[in-house]
Symmetry: C2
Subunit: 402 residues, 2 copies
């Protein structure tokens, strides 16, 4: 088995313990080692420790000298929409110059404009697009990503999206209930179609199902219908909720035992309290709030109340054209008032928990996957501190230098 | 003379015309060419045009095929503090977790902690630090940067800072009035010292002088004294003003004919109106506002009122550890409500104007410096749209590929 020794690291920082998700004050608990090494055996971490405790190693070991660098776990992006055609740069430019939502719609903007471009991209186009987006993510330290369908909304394009995400190494989530495409009369008719015609195959390709529960998209009753049908096939459940309005996403997520409810920019005190006593993780997407010029989610209140939170990019062409979890960590520190340690846990082990991989991903400890980000700084907190900087020096995935 | 032909560009975008600064609706005026070439002769641009109009070129011409890429002028960062020792990551982490300003001060934070580390760095340390920061900037498309001293505040370190900035190719600004170092009794005593002991040599090394006019730093009378003494040596004038409070920076800038007043997060309607009818450029620093979690400057109101504005990073260890003008353009579009075209002009030709280089820098047109950023997108607006992304593909400086 090939072994890789990363030696002379200035620091190694990893969320502490073996449990997940980390909540409350435990979110900031770190294993933090100065002057350290990480030893990988195959695709797993064999040992992490201080250089002075490193014994002699038998056999063939590749060595990487990492003086002046620090290491954190490979970042885990648990909420992305990487399967789309075209872009929304026209809409972005109009919004920047003050265009209203109605003007944007009249100019052909919104999710449905991406649906049109995604259907036109074809299966091969989606394969290459998702692979390119995966490469972008990897360059900024994301070694594990979830990817959602949801810009096809017909059988062929939804399934092609899920296949493209899996082919790129992503964890596919079927976002069959993202919007109602124009060929269907209303949301109920559309659900009749997707649950009968798309769900059976989507359930074989995806690990989870997701719904956009929002005014103008899917209401609580329709979201429940969609999610219950998906759960019956064995899919885990996710929800987009409380992005613009509180429309019942948190109670529904708790009722159905969903893994997460994502966005929460509009969540008030009752939602915070409910989430805090539940097993549902709140996934916070500050790059999306920034991109749209909207309020930030109540991250500090959620953590202080004891809720489990994760951080993700929401990478998508319309509301968050941003694949950078380091930038999300900077936003967490400056806008969400999470410490760098809390931000790190939120986009590693807690994000892995949302994806059902907390036992194997998101920590630097023996037995975990050898996914490692080497930062171009001797203090790992530059991950959040170096705003928009090229802070990622090298990435190791499955025990191999990328 | 060596010539470089950049051919098959998807787009070339440049602020229009030959005048500067661009104001009001003219800020959005672009020369925008699809399927284009740029021809450089030595360090200057010889021609920009459509591929179909490109005639045959005599003699030796290096060719760069840029299919799928777009080009904008090399970015101009007119406000950075690159000459410092140490970092402020401890202070950043404490602030993220909610520490108050008083707690940070008790923990040894603030400008004076950087002054101590900068004095300890020594002349050689400052040389290598500024060169490293210049390389960071260049990587994200900044081909021209201003750099301020101001973390030395003694004769030796202030002058070493200015020399390090010039040696790295930057345009030095003497920020002798940044803070009052502990060895001086008060701001007046400190000004007695710097104006007598540092100004004569600083005036030979720098192009401009700058002052931090703010409660707790230098008040209007002291700022006037400092700036008038500097102007008498031929230095151009800049001011840090209205960052936390309106303390008279804009009237003083106008009175003294300063090139710029920078920050303006606290500027109200009277300040906006005064700036709009003046020749002083307002330099906006949204990365600093984001980094500190503070309100954004009133950019839209300034532009609409007719004020000249520029955008810069404010790169420094305490309040904006960010060297990325592409990120600043994203913040301009999403937080300041400037269109991508307005943001581009603000960090190219208008920033060059603040540095006294509007006739030679910041445009892609014959006779201008051959400083060019090639973007990894066929639409140049990805500069702002691709939030935190690796949008810069190649950089040309002085007609040479970096």
């Amino acid at each position: 088995m090939p072994r890789l020794l990363i030696r002379d690291l200035a620091q190694v920082a990893s969320p502490a313990g073996r449990t997940a998700p980390l909540r409350g004050s435990a979110l900031a608990d770190l294993d933090w080692i100065d002057d350290a090494y990480i030893l990988c055996a195959g695709a797993e971490i064999e040992a992490v420790g201080r250089m002075r405790d490193l014994g002699s190693l038998e056999g063939d070991v590749q060595e990487l000298h990492a003086r002046g660098l620090s290491a954190v776990p490979g970042l885990v992006d648990c909420h992305t929409h990487p399967a789309f055609g075209g872009d929304r740069v026209d809409e972005f430019s109009l919004r920047a110059a003050g265009a209203s939502y109605e003007e944007l719609h009249a100019a052909g903007g919104g999710i449905l404009s991406t649906v049109e471009a995604t259907r036109a991209a074809g299966a091969d186009g989606l394969m290459s697009t998702v692979a390119r987006h995966r490469d972008w993510m990897l360059r900024v330290g994301t070694t594990t990503f979830e990817g959602k369908s949801g810009y096809g909304l017909d059988r062929e394009t939804e399934l092609a999206s899920l296949r493209a995400i899996a082919a790129a190494g992503g964890i596919p989530t079927w976002l069959g209930a993202h919007a109602v495409p124009p060929e269907h009369a209303d949301a109920s008719v559309y659900l009749d179609f997707v649950l009968a015609e798309v769900l059976p195959e989507a359930a074989r390709l995806a690990e989870a199902a997701d719904v956009f529960l929002e005014r103008g998209a899917f209401d609580v009753d329709r979201a429940r219908r969609y999610l219950e049908a998906c759960a019956a096939t064995g899919l885990a459940l996710r929800l987009h909720g409380d992005q613009f309005t509180e429309a019942g996403a948190i109670p529904l997520a708790i009722e159905l035992g969903a893994r997460s409810v994502d966005h929460l920019e509009a969540t008030g005190p009752a939602g915070i309290a409910a989430l805090a006593t539940s097993d549902v993780t709140g996934v916070l997407l500050p790059a999306s709030a920034l991109f749209l010029g909207r309020p930030m989610p109540p991250a500090r209140a959620l953590v202080d109340a004891g809720a489990a939170v994760a951080l993700a990019t929401d990478f998508n062409p319309g509301s968050a054209f941003c694949e950078s979890l380091p930038l999300v960590c900077s936003l967490a520190a400056t806008q969400l008032k999470l410490s760098p340690a809390e931000a790190l846990a939120a986009c590693t082990v807690n994000a892995a928990h949302v994806l059902g991989r907390a036992g194997t991903h998101g920590r630097l400890a023996p037995g975990y996957r050898a996914d490692i980000v080497l930062l171009d700084a001797s203090d790992w907190r530059y991950l959040a501190y170096h705003l928009g900087g090229a802070v990622v020096s090298r990435v190791v995935k499955d025990g191999q230098l990328v």
